[in-house]
C-alpha cells in the first residue's frame, strides 16, 4: 500500500508526505487536505533538513522543537514522523478512525515525536515563546519552530505572543506563517485583511523574511539566516499545492476526495 519514493532527497521526502497524507485523508474520510498540502515543503525542510531532530535524538532535551500551531495540518507531521521512522508507517492507517490516537488536529498523546497538541487556533506562538524563554534561561542550544496559518492570525492571541517574542528578543524562536491566502470560507483578504502583513509584523520589531513557501531551497536558505530577535518567515504558499484541481479552491479546505478524485490526485502526485 505504501509505495513511496526513496527518502533520499528533500523533494522526495515532500512527495512522500503528500502521498501519505492524501491516503490518510482519503481513508480516514477526513478534511483539511488543502491546508496540509500548502505546508508540505515547510514541514519537509524542518524535519528532513533543518531541525536537530531525528529518530536518534528526538527524546533528548537538546533536540530542536516544533510546535504545529495550525493543528489541522497534523496529518503532515504524523506522516513526517513516520518517514523519520519514529512512528510505524502502518499506524498512519488509523488516522481519524475510532479508537486511534491520530486525531485530525495534532495530538501528542501516545504519539512519540509530537511536542504539543493543538487544534484551537492561536495558541502555538505563545507556547513556543514559553519554550524559547525556558531554553534561553537554561542556556540550551535548542531552537524552537512554530508553524502558523495565515487565517490563524485573525486570533488576537497570536499578536499578544508576537509582542512578547519581540520584547524578550527570543532569537532562538522561528515563526513560519503558511501564507496561502485562504481561510475557512473566503480568502484572508476578503475575510479580515492581513496585508500588508510583512510591514505589520516588522513594525512589532521582529525580523521578517518572505519566501516562496513551496520552494525547499528558499526555505532552507532563509532558515539558516541568523537574527538578533525572533525570526518570522512569511512562506507564500499555494493552498492545495501539488494537486491541480485542489489548488486555490476553498472547497478542499473541507472536502474529502471521493474515489475518482483520490485516484486522480494520486496519479498527479506519483508522476
Amino acid at each position: 500500500m505504501y509505495k513511496l519514493f526513496k527518502n533520499d532527497s528533500i523533494n522526495n521526502f515532500a512527495k512522500n508526505l503528500r502521498i501519505l497524507t492524501l491516503k490518510m485523508i482519503y481513508h480516514g474520510r477526513a478534511s483539511h487536505i488543502a491546508s496540509i498540502f500548502s505546508c508540505i515543503e515547510i514541514i519537509s525542510v524542518l524535519y528532513f533538513n533543518h531541525m536537530n531532530f531525528s529518530k536518534k535524538n528526538y527524546q533528548r532535551d537538546t533536540r530542536d522543537k516544533f510546535i504545529l500551531s495550525k493543528g489541522h495540518a497534523g496529518a503532515a507531521v504524523y506522516a513526517a514522523l513516520a518517514l523519520l521512522k519514529i512512528i510505524p508507517i502502518k499506524k498512519l492507517d488509523t488516522y481519524y478512525k475510532n479508537g486511534s490516537v491520530f486525531s485530525g488536529h495534532v495530538s501528542h498523546y501516545k504519539v512519540p515525536g509530537i511536542e504539543y497538541s493543538t487544534g484551537s487556533l492561536g495558541s502555538g506562538i505563545g507556547i513556543a515563546c514559553g519554550v524559547a524563554l525556558a531554553s534561553k534561561l537554561d542556556k540550551k542550544k535548542s531552537k524552537i519552530f512554530t508553524l502558523v496559518g495565515d487565517g490563524e492570525l485573525n486570533e488576537g492571541s497570536c499578536w499578544e505572543a508576537l509582542l512578547f517574542a519581540n520584547h524578550h528578543k527570543l532569537n532562538n524562536l522561528t515563526i513560519i506563517i503558511d501564507r496561502n491566502y485562504y481561510q475557512s470560507i473566503l480568502t484572508t483578504e476578503k475575510t479580515l485583511k492581513l496585508n500588508p502583513l510583512k510591514q505589520k509584523i516588522k513594525s512589532f520589531g521582529l525580523d521578517v523574511f518572505e519566501v516562496d513557501g513551496n520552494d525547499t531551497k528558499q526555505l532552507k536558505d532563509c532558515l539558516k539566516k541568523k537574527t538578533t530577535t525572533t525570526k518570522v518567515i512569511i512562506a507564500n504558499t499555494i493552498k492545495g499545492k501539488g494537486v491541480s484541481f485542489m489548488q486555490n479552491n476553498i472547497k478542499w479546505h473541507y472536502k474529502n476526495p471521493d474515489r475518482e478524485e483520490y485516484n486522480l490526485a494520486l496519479k498527479e502526485l506519483i508522476n
Binding site: S117, S123, G130, A134, S157
Partner: protein, 301 residues
C-alpha cells in the same frame, strides 16, 4: 493572605531557579522584591492572559514550575480554553493564582465579580482547585502547591479570622449536631457570624470549611457522619450552577443519603448595582442574616 503566599513562593524560588512567577500586569508593589532579586524568574507578561497561559505552558513543558498571578475572572474565564487545552490536556505544573474570589472586588463592578470561576474551572479535567479562607487553610495548601499538575488557587488579600470553632475538611474527629453548614472560601466568615447568632437561639450549628474543592474525596466515615445531621446547607460565594453546592448534591445523590439539603449560593443573575463585598453579599442573599433566614425557614417546614 495573598502577600504571605507570594512571600512563600519567593522563598522557595530563591532556592530553586526553576520556579517562575508570571503576572498579567497586576499586583502593584507585590512583586517588587521578587522582580529585583530574581529577575530571571519573574516576568510581567503584560495585559494578555491568553499569552500568559500559553507562555506558562511552554515554560512548564520545559520543566519549569510556574506560578501565574492575576485577579478574579482574568486568569480563568478570559483564557479558559488556553487553560483547558494547554495546561490541563498536557497536565502541566502550573499554578494559577486568582486573587479576589466572589465579590472581593465588589465596587469595581460586574466585570470584577468572580462568581462563576469555581463552577467553570471545576468542570475541566486534571486541574486541582484550592479555595482557602484562613491562615491555617493556606498553610495546608502550601504543602500541595508543589504537586506536578495544574492547580487553581483562589486567594484574597486578607485571611478570615477564626472567631469560632469550625472544622476543616478532611475532618478527623466525629461530628454531629442538628445543622451543618458546608462552606468554601472566605464566605466562611458569614457562616461563622450566622452560627454565633443561631447558637444563641439554641440552634446548634456546625461548620465545615472546604479549602480543597477538587479533587474532593469523601470517605465513608464522613458520609456516615453526614447522616447524623437533620439539615445540611452548602454555602458558597459563587453561582449555584455547577458550584460547590451541586458538587455536594452529587455526593448525596450518589450515596443515596436521605438528608434535608439546601444550596445557598448566588442565583443565576448579575448584580448591576454598586456595592462592596458585604453589601453585595446581602443583595445576593448569601450574608449571615440571609443564611439564618434560610435555615430558620427550613427548620419551620
Amino acid at each position: 493572605m495573598r502577600n504571605d503566599l507570594i512571600r512563600f513562593i519567593f522563598d522557595k524560588a530563591k532556592k530553586n531557579k526553576n520556579i517562575i512567577l508570571l503576572t498579567g500586569d497586576l499586583g502593584y508593589s507585590l512583586f517588587d522584591e521578587f522582580a529585583q532579586k530574581l529577575p530571571n524568574q519573574f516576568f510581567n507578561i503584560g495585559i494578555s492572559e491568553q499569552n500568559m497561559i500559553a507562555v506558562a505552558t511552554g515554560l512548564a513543558k520545559e520543566k519549569k514550575k510556574v506560578f501565574v498571578y492575576s485577579i478574579g475572572n482574568f486568569p480563568s474565564l478570559r483564557c479558559l480554553e488556553f487553560i483547558r487545552n494547554n495546561l490541563c490536556y498536557h497536565n502541566l505544573d502550573v499554578t494559577i493564582i486568582s486573587c479576589g474570589s466572589g465579590y472581593e472586588y465588589g465596587q469595581l463592578g460586574f466585570s470584577h465579580h468572580a462568581t462563576e470561576v469555581l463552577s467553570v474551572i471545576r468542570s475541566i479535567p486534571n486541574i486541582s482547585i484550592f479555595n482557602p479562607a484562613t491562615l491555617k487553610e493556606l498553610k495546608q495548601i502550601k504543602r500541595k502547591i508543589f504537586l506536578n499538575q495544574p492547580k487553581f488557587l483562589m486567594v484574597n488579600k486578607n485571611y478570615i479570622k477564626e472567631n469560632i470553632n469550625f472544622h476543616t475538611f478532611p475532618i478527623k474527629k466525629k461530628i454531629n449536631g442538628k445543622i451543618l453548614i458546608c462552606t468554601t472560601g472566605s464566605i466562611l466568615e458569614e457562616a461563622m457570624k450566622a452560627s454565633v447568632l443561631l447558637n444563641k437561639k439554641n440552634i446548634k450549628t456546625e461548620i465545615i470549611s472546604f479549602p480543597f474543592i477538587k479533587p474532593l474525596i469523601f470517605n465513608i466515615d464522613f458520609i456516615n457522619s453526614l447522616k447524623k445531621f437533620n439539615y445540611i446547607f452548602s454555602l458558597e460565594e459563587n453561582n449555584i450552577s455547577g458550584g460547590f453546592g451541586e458538587l455536594f448534591l452529587n455526593l448525596i445523590n450518589k450515596n443515596n443519603l436521605k438528608i434535608n439539603f439546601e444550596i445557598i449560593g448566588i442565583k443565576d443573575e448579575f448584580i448591576k448595582i454598586v456595592g462592596d463585598k458585604n453589601y453585595l453579599r446581602k443583595k445576593a442573599r448569601i450574608d449571615s442574616k440571609s443564611i439564618i433566614s434560610y435555615i430558620e425557614k427550613k427548620i419551620k417546614n
